[in-house]
Symmetry: C2
């Protein structure tokens, strides 16, 4: 869900060399470990929230622990597949889409080079550049078809070259993380047969987990960690209140 | 979940004028209606999948329709809030992040202009451009701080200026769409008290809805609609099989 976000080091940047700065700032330098971490945070946050809320809601409807576990674990299984497989297929579609756009740009560069060259000009003109200022760039690109293609993919279409292995890795990471996240609020119901008691423990551990993950998420996305922690916990709390209220409402009809 | 995707007209492009082509291709020309549609597709697809799977799973565990409705509607309430509020807060954080990065770039342009100017060069050098080819661009940008700032935000950091109203609109759209999507598989359980019978109707209407929405999603994202329809329905089917199996498993312990 969270789109591309850049890295910060403790919320500020030092004054490094140009190369260092580019290394920190440049979005293209994806650290694979960082993307795995992001997927874990995404999956666990979602897994913590809805299974927790569902379990709390059913406790409110006086369901026994066994039923809460049935519903909760079924939801975790469904949610993990929906997120994991859904994410994988979406990433594959994106990769296919990228390849189709790449082919089209390649063709256009060969068949209608003047139009494509004019497009470079249009892109740079948006930054107040005059033709005499950008025409050296246009000419250089015209003589370097590979670079020209890369330039159009990035600056005209805004498309990044996807990594085929990442789609599968990302899907598996998110799905597994969702399962781990979902187990946190549900495990109390395994060990505590009286649902209302289990719910109290579930609330306790889940809120703690939400605060922790929200904090970590904030650090990695460059947002204020405390604020992120509170927001993450608040979403979980509100979702469970809504589930609780809905369950009570349906039970009363 | 689905990142930025570009528009196609019936899967191919005609050979239009340069301006038209830029209009169709350029990611910056977001049509607001298109973004609303995308949010609807996102919310409904998710809403169709997990509530459906949960209901099917609980039917498999021989739960009565009333309980399936309780769990299903509680999940829809929790899921809508998790997606809606979660999405809204994520968008707000992104907007805050953008403003912080904007301020930082602004400062850097003022305090360390030579480093920033060198960065423009580094970005363009990646496309095989020589200093004598890109220095007119660098000089022009140095004399136009606003354009320089825009250029760095887009080409160095890859950040788009977020629209503040969109965050709220997007969240509400996704949440409402999730509710609508979730109601489709659950309504049969309102009218058909015998869960196993209701489940058959639920499977029928939900599969039809998944195929339809998958098809529409394919058209809007520029992927093959039939393929998209089958994939969307497949995810729903697999998620419900997993939920069903999990529910049976938990019930048997």
């Amino acid at each position: 869900m969270a789109p591309e976000e850049s890295w910060e080091v403790n919320g500020t940047s030092t004054t490094p060399s140009t190369a260092e700065k580019l290394l920190v700032h440049h979005k293209e330098n994806h650290f694979t470990a960082g993307e795995v971490v992001r997927d874990v945070i995404l999956g666990v946050s979602d897994g913590l929230t809805v299974p927790f809320a569902l379990a709390a809601g059913l406790s409110g409807a006086n369901a026994p622990s066994s039923l809460i576990l049935t519903a909760g674990l079924a939801e975790v299984a469904a949610g993990a597949i929906s997120m994991g497989l859904g994410g994988y297929l979406a990433a594959k579609s994106e990769a296919d889409h990228y390849m189709r756009e790449l082919k089209r740009e390649q063709e256009e560069i060969v068949t209608v080079p003047d139009i494509e060259a004019a497009e470079i000009g249009e892109i740079l003109a948006q930054y107040g550049l005059e033709p005499h200022e950008y025409s050296p760039v246009v000419n250089a690109l015209r003589n370097n078809p590979q670079a020209w293609l890369d330039f159009m993919m990035k600056f005209e279409l805004g498309l990044e070259k996807p990594d085929p292995k990442r789609a599968l890795q990302s899907a598996l990471t998110i799905a597994l993380s969702y399962v781990v996240g979902g187990l946190v609020p549900l495990l109390p119901y395994v060990f505590i047969p009286i649902a209302q008691k289990a719910m109290l423990t579930s609330i306790g551990v889940t809120l703690a987990a939400l605060l922790f993950f929200g904090y970590v998420k904030g650090q990695f996305t460059g947002n204020y960690p405390l604020s992120s922690a509170v927001q993450t916990a608040f979403i979980g709390a509100l979702a469970s209140v809504a589930a609780y209220a809905m369950a009570k409402l349906v039970q009363s009809t």
